[in-house]
Symmetry: C2
Subunit: 326 residues, 2 copies
């Protein structure tokens, strides 16, 4: 952990008590002047840290910015996903950044956030709107020992993790629209873009790109999206601290990724089915030029959707645009 | 086509007749001095071009080097695979070069050859030996509209193309060992490494990496490979012109790729089954830690191998290491 992470961790665990400069200096093995300089740096980023002769340093509030050291401090040391976190003020797409890291041989678990993306993208090259500091736009590098056709498991796992994190932070009961959308009252609030680099039988790496609309107001969505999309702020009526949500999501992702890696995908799938707005419903699925209608029955062992068509066949669907019929 | 390609095309179509400097100058719309300078350049690369006052320029022989302009001249204009050819004297792996081009948005059909590779690779990160000018080490960029699980079709198509090209250039009846090896009398002479970049339901691009052992002598193989690998030179007893073979392979690849893209994969699969040493045979397939024994029955619509196991089940195998039992 970096020095800033350790300072924030110490301030957080001290709560209202405060931590003295001497104590920080001893814990971090740096001079008191160096502690002071780091505190000044954190203040300049918007962290409201007061110092008093009796109580030492206290953290009163944190700014709504994403700061890698802060996120690392919130996650603690043990995490797998998020053991390396990088934050960009602006980038083309966090998936692009992760792809470069993947090719450079960086280990799995690294997470890249951007406060805004100029070329955020969704499935099939669609545009993903990612305005400055209004949401969480990030990507995760994974190197799972999975067959390419089992990579859908990771999309499924990410969806359950997102739903759990959103629920614990807001109380909202978000639902999953197979395979990669998180919706609230039928409107999309988050999406997952899964990209992979593979040989025929082995995955080299997977990039999970995740976008969560956190603090956008209704007027910040383009008119054509307002009936289709929403944000956590619109749904709760409150602004949300993005760093808290981000660390909660990474914690839950880590948990579900561990389940996939230890061959416990069926646990994830069971949870997914409970949270899904798709299973058991009449749906229409658009796959390129093909449109298929039926009843979504369940997930198979790879995370594909099993659809009972109008003609009674069971079709295995790997991906597509799903509309749930009323 | 470049000027060098056009000069070589003109010299080839003239055969023994020769082409005058004046004619070349007119055809290429460059000065006679410029024609002479280009001819000098080709000579410096090893092209044996004589000039006589009566017959003009004649091409007596070509060197065993790969030269992009020469390959383009041999292929002609109409080709799809090979409309853009780049030759490196040495590179890490031609797949790496193609991957960079793919990310830069280069159109499909570009082919990269290297006279030698320092980090040539086979399946699952295995090393592929690629000594200077002894073989064909190249990669092709494709952007097919295929589902990731249908990408095996391209490996199958490349294998049939390689077998046809080897047969037409050497008379040798090479066989295909599913999914990606070309063998002669049980020894591997060429291999195909298929890599892809994909979303769950769409391929973004595929890189076909192909290695053909052309002019290696037996002593140039490491001792542990001598029983497993061979070269066209060992099998025919003759050195082969690599440029001729390269252009024949690209022509055949182009033909099979067109068949896959026009939904005629079953034609490719039929041809593949005829040339295969795997179908109808008792085989052992090693897939990671798993070993499975049975009789190879056929290919399915995606190019996967259908294996009838000892227990009578039909298993669908996407990739693995196959040993054909005697």
């Amino acid at each position: 952990m970096s020095i800033d992470s350790e300072i924030l961790t110490a301030l957080r665990s001290a709560n209202d008590e405060g931590v003295s400069g001497a104590e920080l200096s001893q814990r971090l093995r740096i001079s008191r002047a160096a502690v002071w300089a780091r505190i000044e740096e954190l203040r300049s980023l918007g962290y409201d840290i007061v110092a008093s002769p009796h109580q030492g340093y206290r953290l009163l509030s944190v700014p709504d910015v994403l700061h890698a050291d802060d996120l690392l401090s919130r996650l603690g040391k043990a995490r797998f996903i998020g053991r390396d976190i990088r934050v960009f003020r602006e980038t083309t797409s966090t998936n692009d950044v992760i792809e470069k890291l993947a090719r450079d041989g960086v280990k799995e678990g690294v997470v890249v956030f951007a406060e805004s993306q100029t070329k955020g993208r969704g499935r099939l090259g669609r545009k993903w709107m990612s305005p400055m500091r209004k949401g969480l736009w990030f990507s995760v590098l994974l190197r799972p020992r999975l067959h390419p056709q089992a990579v859908t498991q990771l999309t499924i796992a990410s969806a359950t993790a997102l739903v759990r994190a959103i629920h614990s932070q807001t109380g909202l009961a978000a639902e999953i629209r197979w395979p990669n959308d998180i919706v609230i009252r039928g409107r999309k609030v988050a999406g997952i873009l899964t990209e992979m680099n593979a040989e025929l039988d082995t995955v080299k790496y997977v990039i999970l790109g995740i976008g969560v609309d956190v603090n956008l107001s209704a007027s910040e969505f383009p008119p054509d999206l307002r009936k289709l999309a929403t944000s956590l702020r619109i749904e709760t009526g409150e602004m949300l601290g993005r760093a808290t949500l981000a660390s909660e999501i990474l914690r839950e992702l880590d948990r579900d990724y561990a389940r996939v890696c230890s061959c416990q995908f069926e646990l994830v799938a069971d949870e997914w089915e409970e949270r899904s707005n798709t299973i058991g419903r009449a749906v229409v699925i658009q796959m390129g030029d093909r449109r298929i209608q039926g009843r979504a029955e369940s997930l198979d062992a790879d995370g594909a959707l099993l659809l009972r068509t109008q003609h009674g066949h069971l079709e295995r669907i790997i991906s597509g645009d799903v509309t749930v019929e009323k």
